[in-house]
Structures are given as C-alpha cells and as structure tokens.
C-alpha cells in the first residue's frame, strides 16, 4: 500500500506539473534565459549572497502559512488584474472616441427619434466631413436572452465616419452595398456564433416588427469587420437602414441619432452650434456633443464603475498588506534565535536585512505573478463568452507595469519592518531567546 501511495503521489505530482505547464513554463523559460546571461546569479548574489536557497527554505518552512499567504496575494492580484482590465476596457470607449467625431441626438433624450430629413441638412453644414445615421434595432439571435447590438445604418456612409475604427474588407463592403439584406458582423459576435461570410441568418427585434407582424428578419452575412485595435468592440452588427425602413411596420423615415465627422476637431464647437441652432424651436430639437462626452455621459448613467473598482481593489490590498505584514513579522520574530546564530556565524546584519526583504519580495512576486496569470486566463474566458457586453478585456502593458510597481511596494512595506528588526537585533539578546 505504501508503494501504491508513493507512486500515486508521484503521478499526481507530474499530472499537476503538466496541467499547470502553461503557467509555469513561460516563467521557467524567462528564468532560464536570465540565468543564461548571468542575471539571476548577479541579482540573487547582490540581494542574498549565495544564500538564495536559505531564503527559499525560510519562506517555505511553514508550508500552510506560506500557501495561505501566497493565496491571499494571489487573490488580491487576480482581483486587481481582472477589475482594472475591466475598468480600462469599460472606459476604452471614452479613450478611443475620436476627437473629430460628434453625436447628434434628440434633445429630449437619445431614445427619442429624429426625422431622416435632418441628415441632408446636417451634411450641408460647413466643416462636416461625413454623417451617418443609425437606429437601434434591439436585435437578438434565436433566444431573446442572446442580445446582439444591432444598428440599422446608412451603409454608404458608415466608413466615412467610423472607418478609423472599423476595418472592413473592400470586397465585402462592395457586396454589402449591393445586397439590401446584407449585414456585416463584428469579429467577436461572428466567432461567438460560428458565423461566416455567405451564411444566411435570422435576426429578431424586441422593438420592431415587419409589416406582416413578424419580428424576424433574414439577413445575408456579407462581411465580417474587425477593430483597428483590441479595445474596439466587435460584438456589434450593422444592417442596412433602407432594408430596415422598408420592412419595418412603424417609425418609418425616422432615425435614432447621427454620427458626424468634422474636418477638424477645432471646428467642433462651431459645427455643434450650427447644427443645434438649425433645429431650435422645431418639434425635434437636437443636442450635439463630442463623441467623448457622449460616451462618458452614457457610462456615467451606469454608475461610477471606476470608483467602485478602485474601492474594491483598495480594500483587497489593504487586507493583504495587513495579512502579509503580520505574517512576515511573525515569521521573522519566531526565528529570532536563528538570526542570532547566523550573526554569530558571521552573517552581516545588512545581508540578513536583504535576505528577509528578499523573502518578502519572493512571496509577493510569486503570488502576484500567479494572480496576474489567473486574471489573464479569467479574462480570456470572459472574452470568449458570447455577447459579453464589454469589448476585449486584456491586461494591458500599463496594468502589468502598475501591478509590478504595486508588488514592489507591497513587498517593501511588508518586508521592511521584519528586515529592520533583524538588522538591529543584538546577538546576545537573540541567543537568549529560545
């Protein structure tokens, strides 16, 4: 039986190593490369002399405490990575909004329509490079729960205004212009449903119906667009307004809003004034705002997500600071006499200081890096959830740099007290504490 359990343990160990290979192999590779160029030796020698093994053994001498502390740090950085990436992605619309783009909506609110005749009038305003009108279709695919952001647009003008963000193959664009029932789908939504160019799909609307009473429209997928950057949302679908307007049973010749591109951001102010003045005192007064302000205002209606995220992250890190700090102090205090012995043997105080600080860094960076890896895996999973409402959520280089900074700060704060304790510890006092 003993041999059986021994082999079982070995098999489990290797299975665990294989299962977690995607996590540790990249680290190992980087470590190996750094080792090859002598950096690891240099760094560990500087920090801990040739006592790297000693630091590692001290850190893991109480496995349960080590793993619990590591887990706490892991969770904190998982939360930090995931929530910060979510926050960045959520606010990406504001960052990505072009300075030369404006949005014109009904002054009452953006759910109220505007007459389509406004489009031609707006196009005539000085300083405007392009105008595209849009309607919210309220689409879903097969199941009402599978909502899809579907916009009925003027297909001839879409890329004039949003061509910087939306990348559509010219051949597919031409096909779209020629096929009234054609639609172009974003890469993410197409991938989520396994759609490809040439497919014919039904789309339902939870707002509109056709003249025969049906809420289902058939479309040909003529193109699949991608975003010019990972942050561009590709969960949307564009259908042709003319087809929608012809078949829709109500609300004909009305549009939802207009997307406008100006010839220069410096003209925005004048263009806004000209448009809104044009329709003042009409039954459909307009409100024109820069796209950035519109997106910001739209997000603000959902609540201050950034503040909520910051609060959660701050709370998580505060708890971690206390947990790791106490753990480190406890770990060093309980080996007071050992520190005394090491000093007696000739280890200098400065070296012991660096070794204990090294423990703290090793612990925080191990937990933090694992946390970020887990966050990456989690976000990868989220990005593959069909119709997840936020575009590609990724750990941007900025988030990773911030995380590394936080790890260093956390390690320094939690390690400095026990390291100073060791630095100042008197040998005789230390040896008397058994």
């Amino acid at each position: 039986m003993t041999i059986f359990f021994k082999w079982l343990r070995i098999i489990c160990k290797y299975l665990f190593l294989i299962a977690t290979a995607p996590i540790w192999v990249p680290f190992w590779a980087v470590w190996w490369l750094l080792g090859k160029i002598g950096f690891v030796q240099f760094a560990t020698d500087w920090a801990m002399g040739n006592g790297f093994y000693l630091v590692y053994k001290n850190l893991t001498r109480r496995p349960l405490r080590f793993f619990l502390t590591l887990f706490a740090i892991f969770v904190a950085f998982l939360i930090y990575g995931a929530l910060t990436a979510f926050d960045v992605a959520f606010n990406a619309g504001v960052e990505l909004a072009a300075d030369d783009r404006l949005i014109t909506v009904n002054k009452i609110n953006f759910t109220q329509p505007l007459p389509i005749s406004y489009v031609r009038k707006v196009e005539a305003v000085d300083g405007i490079a392009g105008v595209v009108h849009m309607n919210w279709f309220g689409g879903y695919y097969q199941d009402p729960k599978t909502q899809i952001q579907t916009f009925a647009v003027d297909q001839t003008k879409l890329l004039d205004v949003y061509g910087d963000d939306i990348i559509l193959d010219p051949v597919q664009n031409t096909a779209w212009q020629q096929n009234k029932q054609g639609l172009v789908a974003g890469r993410a939504v197409a991938a989520a449903h396994g759609w490809k160019v040439g497919d014919r799909i039904p789309l339902n609307s939870n707002i509109f119906s056709q003249k025969d009473g049906s809420t289902s429209w058939d479309f040909d997928i003529v193109g699949i667009y991608t975003g010019s950057s990972a942050q561009i949302d590709t969960n949307g679908i564009y259908i042709r307004y003319d087809y929608f307007n012809e078949t829709n049973s109500f609300g004909g010749d009305y549009i939802g809003w207009m997307g406008i591109r100006t010839k220069s951001p410096s003209l925005n102010e004048q263009v806004i004034k000209d448009i809104d003045d044009m329709f003042v005192n009409s039954p459909f007064e307009t409100e024109t705002v820069p796209e950035k302000a519109f997106t910001k205002g739209f997000l603000a209606q959902l609540g201050n997500i950034s503040l909520m995220i910051t609060s959660v992250v701050f709370a998580a890190f505060f708890i971690i600071l206390v947990v790791v700090g106490f753990s480190m102090v406890l770990a060093v205090k309980e080996r007071t006499s050992e520190i005394g012995v090491m000093k007696t043997l000739g280890f200098r105080s400065g070296r012991l200081f660096r070794m204990i600080l090294g423990e703290s860094f090793m612990l925080v960076f191990a937990g933090g890096t694992l946390g970020l890896w887990a966050a990456t895996a989690f976000l990868g999973f989220l990005n593959n959830v069909p119709q997840f409402p936020v575009p590609d959520i990724i750990l941007t280089p900025t988030i990773i740099m911030q995380s590394v900074g936080i790890m260093a700060l956390l390690a320094l704060i939690t390690g400095i007290i026990p390291a100073t304790y060791a630095l100042r510890l008197n040998i005789i006092t230390a040896l008397s504490r058994r």
């Binding site: 002399g49 043997l345 200098r348 040998i427 005789i428 040896l431």
Partner: protein, 231 residues
C-alpha cells in the same frame, strides 16, 4: 600547543547597568590562551563564563581593556568587521546546537561557507569532509529533527569546523546530552585539538567534561581563582 599566543585579554572590565544598579562582571581581568590550547572554563552560574565567551567570540565588547587575537586588536572593530572576523577565525558550538530546523544536516554545515567565495562544488566537498570527520556522512541529507541530540551536536561541530577556523568556542557543548553522547562529543573535541591543532575554549559546568581539556580555569565573581593542568 605552540608558544604563540592566540588570545590575549588585557585588563578587561565589563560593567552594565541593571535598573539603578551598576553590575561589574569583570574588573581588570587578564587572560592568555596559546594556539593549540584546550581550555575549560568552569564556574558557578553568574560567574561571567558566558560573558567571557561572548567577548572572546566578538559578540560582546568589554567596557574597558583590550582584546587581542593573533596580534590584532578586535575590541575596536565595527560590527561588520567583527562579523567578518568571526566568519574567518571562530567556530561556535552551542549547548542547544542551534541548527536551522528547515535545513538538512549538509545544508546546516554549509552555512559558514556561504560567507566565503567557494564555488558550490568546493562547498559540497568541504561539507562532505566535515561530516565524514564527525562520522555523519550517511546522515548528510537527513533533517536535524530526525537526529538524536548527540548527532545534532556532531552536525554543529561539523558546522563549526567546516571553514577551518583557528579557534572553537564551545558553550556547554554537552549540557544537553547524556553521558555517553557527551563523552563522544568531548572525544571529538579532543581529537580536533590534538590531531588538527584546533584551539578550543569550552565553558562547562561538568567537571567530567573539563577533564578532557588540557587545562581548566575556574571563574568566580569575575576572577580566575585557580588554574590547574588537566590530568
């Protein structure tokens, strides 16, 4: 034993304040130890044995007087210089072994070598030699918690001698051992003194242990009251 004086304590005094009381541990104490000597220091509790040993080991400083080691004055060295001096010249053996519980025997013995520039291979070789000398080659990879008190003290001896110091300072090295184990340890110290020329200063309460030394110094109230040669 040579005529070369290894340790020379010149008129050392040690005083400290405890509460409102000034306590004098030594006053104008002189002591010389020759290279290759094996000295046992005996005395009742509170006589200053451990304080003396601490001063010899450079972990405590006299209030007055001079401590010379091998023609170098050490009582004026900085903490950092003393650490280096200890690493180069002294091997310590404690009553309770003071081994690192998370390290195996070999890693414990290797500790002083981490302060040298020896390569990993050279360190491994030195550790193997030291463990062989104390008869624990077969226990190199054992954790110290798996060993008896006598074996742990042998590991501590191996740790003390691995960097080949001139002097071994032993603080009650057999105080926590049964008679048989204690005699084994003392035999080993005697061997290190006679065969390898190590100078040994041993603080002990045990007269039987003191008999293994070449001479015994009796310390009482901070003064040597009697000096005798061991049989």
């Amino acid at each position: 034993m040579t005529d070369n004086i290894l340790f020379d304590l010149r008129s050392i005094s040690k005083r400290f304040v405890k509460g409102k009381e000034l306590i004098t541990v030594f006053d104008q104490l002189d002591m010389s130890i020759k290279e290759g000597d094996f000295v046992a220091i005996m005395g009742p509790s509170g006589s200053g044995k451990t304080t003396l040993l601490n001063m010899l080991g450079g972990v405590d400083q006299p209030t007055d007087g001079e401590v010379w080691f091998d023609d170098s004055r050490i009582d004026k060295l900085s903490e950092s210089q003393l650490a280096k001096w200890r690493a180069n010249n002294i091997g310590f053996i404690f009553q309770f072994y003071n081994l690192m519980p998370m390290l195996n025997a070999a890693r414990n013995v290797e500790l002083p070598l981490l302060l040298t520039n020896l390569s990993k291979k050279q360190r491994k070789q030195s550790v193997a030699t030291a463990l062989e000398l104390v008869g624990l080659s077969d226990r190199a990879n054992h954790m110290t918690s798996e060993m008896s008190g006598g074996q742990q003290q042998r590991v501590a001896i191996a740790r003390a001698i691995v960097s080949d110091p001139k002097l071994l300072l032993c603080d009650e090295p057999t105080g926590d051992l049964d008679r048989t184990s204690a005699d084994e340890i003392l035999d080993m110290l005697q061997l290190l003194n006679r065969k390898f020329g190590k100078t040994i200063i041993m603080v002990t309460h045990d007269p039987a242990a003191a008999k293994f030394a070449k001479r015994t110094l009796h310390l009482d109230k901070g003064e040597f009251i009697e000096k005798e040669l061991a049989a």
